[in-house]
């Protein structure tokens, strides 16, 4: 009764293995990197795409969703990429610096390099970095991610991305937008390393423009937050897309540092935002927020593991999900507290609002505690719009549709406002309104 070592491959898995054979010669990397790529491809071969029998993908069956796998997207022209990024303009008039990654490749010529350099921020090509001798470190995965299938896909196929480094003590005056553009159909697989040195402050805006067709978008954001640094990022994943959106956060946080992220998802047919965050120094704070909105037969998955590996750290995880039609929402969150991580303080809340009869929500908020002097709590709720609230608003003369919008906004605003990055609040609330209006 031993498990079979060879699975029978789905069309998508066969496509991926063929894609690897075709692309491996072109993909950059030192010998060590190539070995990692081959090992990752081997994992796809033996284990297949992650599916519902894998605990972490119990509600998010990527294997069943991906009917086929498109080839990797071809190189983009800088002019075309710039035009698309300008057209998408996810953050409107907000003053910001911009870095463009198009079809999986960093485009220095359309990124604000000089202005960033003046602020103490250097940007280099991730693909070039992979050729260095020490490059294997760039592809390291945290223990909490285990043998994650989405990360394996990223390691096997990563085309490029950026390495952003903020020098010690720099306080970057404007948010930095990292936009991933797709100018042609095809999968994009990128990995970005963001190094925020000691005492530095950086705010980021992440966005996606263009379409990948049926190709998957697999992007890893690997943040290294040093002691006393402060970092906040907004991840905006909006618009209808057919290809799976697979986003991964890897973060390590030094001492006395602050790490904040808000993942906002509305629109993609299949989106997973998975985050692996670990404290490496004491007295730090991590705040993870999430807003997921899905309708039709879309799936929105927010998954996270936060490792309180050292004492005296504080984490907050607030996630909100709004579902309509036949959509499915998933929240899986785990707070780990290691044995000697005393005085850890973790609080997790996941709430879902179901707007009609059809949607499904799966919540799995976990605590895994190995230290006794801790304060950890989690909560989960799911339900519909409270009819009494709706009636109260209507009794004050607010028409039903607007009253519903107001209540959904109120429900989501707890996460958006707690994030306390006022420069994005209006953009996000407008996205909520757009989504509710069916745009």
């Amino acid at each position: 009764m031993t498990a079979p070592t060879q699975i029978s491959h789905t069309q998508a898995e066969s496509d991926l293995l063929a894609r690897f054979d075709t692309a491996k010669g072109d993909l950059s990397g030192s010998t060590a990197v190539s070995d990692l790529r081959v090992a990752a491809a081997e994992q796809i071969k033996t284990k297949g795409l992650p599916h519902r029998r894998v605990e972490e993908y119990k509600y998010t069956d990527l294997r069943a969703y991906m009917k086929s796998a498109a080839p990797l997207a071809p190189k983009a022209s800088a002019a075309e990429a710039k035009a698309l990024a300008d057209a998408e303009n996810a953050y409107g008039e907000l003053e910001r610096f911009r870095i463009v990654v198009a079809n999986g490749t960093y485009l220095a010529e359309v990124s604000d390099l000089e202005a960033l350099a003046a602020e103490g921020v250097t940007v280099t090509d991730f693909a070039a970095a992979l050729d260095q001798d020490t490059a294997a470190d760039l592809l390291a995965t945290p223990p909490s991610a285990g043998t994650d299938g989405v990360l394996a896909l990223n390691t096997a196929f990563v085309q490029g991305g950026v390495v952003i480094t903020v020098k010690e003590g720099a306080d970057v005056s404007r948010p930095v937008e990292l936009v991933h553009v797709s100018t042609a159909e095809g999968a994009i697989v990128t990995r970005n390393r963001i190094n925020v040195a000691k005492g530095a402050k950086l705010k980021m805006l992440e966005s996606f423009a263009g379409t990948t067709g049926t190709g998957e978008t697999n992007v890893v954001f690997d943040y290294k937050i040093a002691d006393n640094a402060e970092f906040a990022t907004t991840r905006l994943v909006v618009g209808a897309t057919e290809g799976a959106r697979l986003l991964t956060t890897l973060a390590t946080i030094g001492a006395d540092a602050i790490f904040k992220i808000l993942g906002f998802m509305a629109g993609p047919a299949f989106a997973r935002n998975q985050q692996f965050v670990a404290f490496e120094g004491e007295n730090s704070e991590a705040k993870l927020y999430g807003v997921s909105m899905a309708r039709d037969r879309c799936l929105a998955d927010q998954t996270l593991i936060i490792d309180h590996a050292v004492p005296h750290c504080n984490s907050r995880e607030y996630f909100k999900t709004v579902l309509d039609d036949e959509a499915r929402g998933v929240y899986q969150g785990r707070i780990n507290v290691a044995q000697h991580a005393q005085k850890s303080d973790g609080e997790m809340m996941t709430q879902a609002l179901l707007l009609s009869e059809g949607p499904e929500m799966a919540n799995k908020p976990e605590l895994e505690i190995f230290a006794d002097d801790v304060l950890c709590a989690h909560g989960a709720t799911s339900g519909q719009i409270d009819e009494d609230l709706l009636f109260y608003l209507r009794a004050r003369g607010i028409p039903e549709a607007e009253a519903r919008t107001l209540l959904v906004l109120a429900f989501l605003s707890e996460a958006i406002e707690e994030f306390e990055e006022e420069y994005v609040t209006d953009f996000l609330e407008q996205r909520v309104r757009d989504w509710l209006a069916g745009k």
């Binding site: 609230l389 009636f391 003369g397 028409p399 109120a410 707890e414």
Partner: protein, 250 residues
């Protein structure tokens, strides 16, 4: 202004009969008190006026300004001038009171074909009305009714009433949960809104509210019917003798 004819209503979910033929006529400028024992249908009547879908009207009609009120949605009724001061104002986390007031006022203005209020005009109006009701700016910044004391909630209801300027004010047990001082402030707020163009229906279990808001007409509601109508002295009689006679009568 308001005419209720032979109104029968039941709870939509289980069919329990609550109102069994209520007749009531309220003219502009009048204040009517509806008194009655617990379970007589007082709050139900107020919810039906405002259009809560938990109740089903099985017979009778409600004419408001010559229109069939029962055909209107709750927000249309509000725009038409019906205001219900809730016995238990609802808490809405995440919606700042100020934001809510602005949304409600502009929604009603829009329904009436009026221009939207500018922010300075709105602020001026709110500040002016809040002062009379002893509502602080700090309170207006907090989420609607969340963490408000009983008195604060009722004052916020009356503030909304004064800002929305309805033609019919229905006050459902507005005195419940108020101490003497709060009762005085709330009553003064209500009395200020009395005018020849406006009617009020004051629902209460106790007479004490009517010491402050003096009614023109007092009705006794028992077992879903109005069993007695009289002047303000009727309230005093009820205070003395209780509702027992009327429960029998119904």
């Amino acid at each position: 202004m308001l005419e209720i004819k032979n109104l029968h209503a039941r709870i939509a979910e289980d069919g329990t009969e609550i109102l069994r033929g209520v007749d009531l006529k309220v003219n502009a400028g009048e204040v009517h008190a509806i008194m009655g024992p617990n379970g007589s249908g007082k709050s139900t009547l107020s919810y039906i006026l405002a259009g809560k879908s938990d109740y089903e009207v099985t017979e009778g009609e409600i004419i408001f300004h010559g229109e069939n009120l029962l055909e209107l949605e709750p927000d249309e009724r509000a725009a038409a001038g019906v205001f219900l001061a809730f016995q238990y104002p609802i808490e809405i986390p995440g919606v700042a009171t100020m934001e809510f007031l602005k949304t409600a006022m502009n929604a009603q203005r829009k329904a009436k074909g009026q221009a939207q209020l500018s922010i300075p005009d709105f602020m001026k109006l709110v500040k002016e009305k809040s002062k009379d009701l002893n509502v602080s700016m700090d309170m207006l910044k907090r989420p609607l009714n969340v963490g408000f004391s009983g008195g604060e909630k009722k004052r916020a209801e009356i503030l909304q009433m004064s800002l929305l300027e309805p033609s019919l004010c229905v006050l459902d047990e507005t005195d419940s949960g108020l101490d003497i001082d709060a009762l005085r402030i709330v009553s003064e707020g209500v009395n200020k809104l009395r005018s020849p163009e406006r009617a009020m229906v004051v629902i209460t279990h106790y007479q004490r509210l009517l010491d402050h808001i003096i009614p023109d007409v007092v009705h006794v509601l028992s077992k879903g019917r109005i069993v007695k109508t009289g002047g303000k002295e009727l309230a005093l009689e009820l205070e003395k003798n209780g509702y027992a006679d009327y429960i029998e009568a119904a």
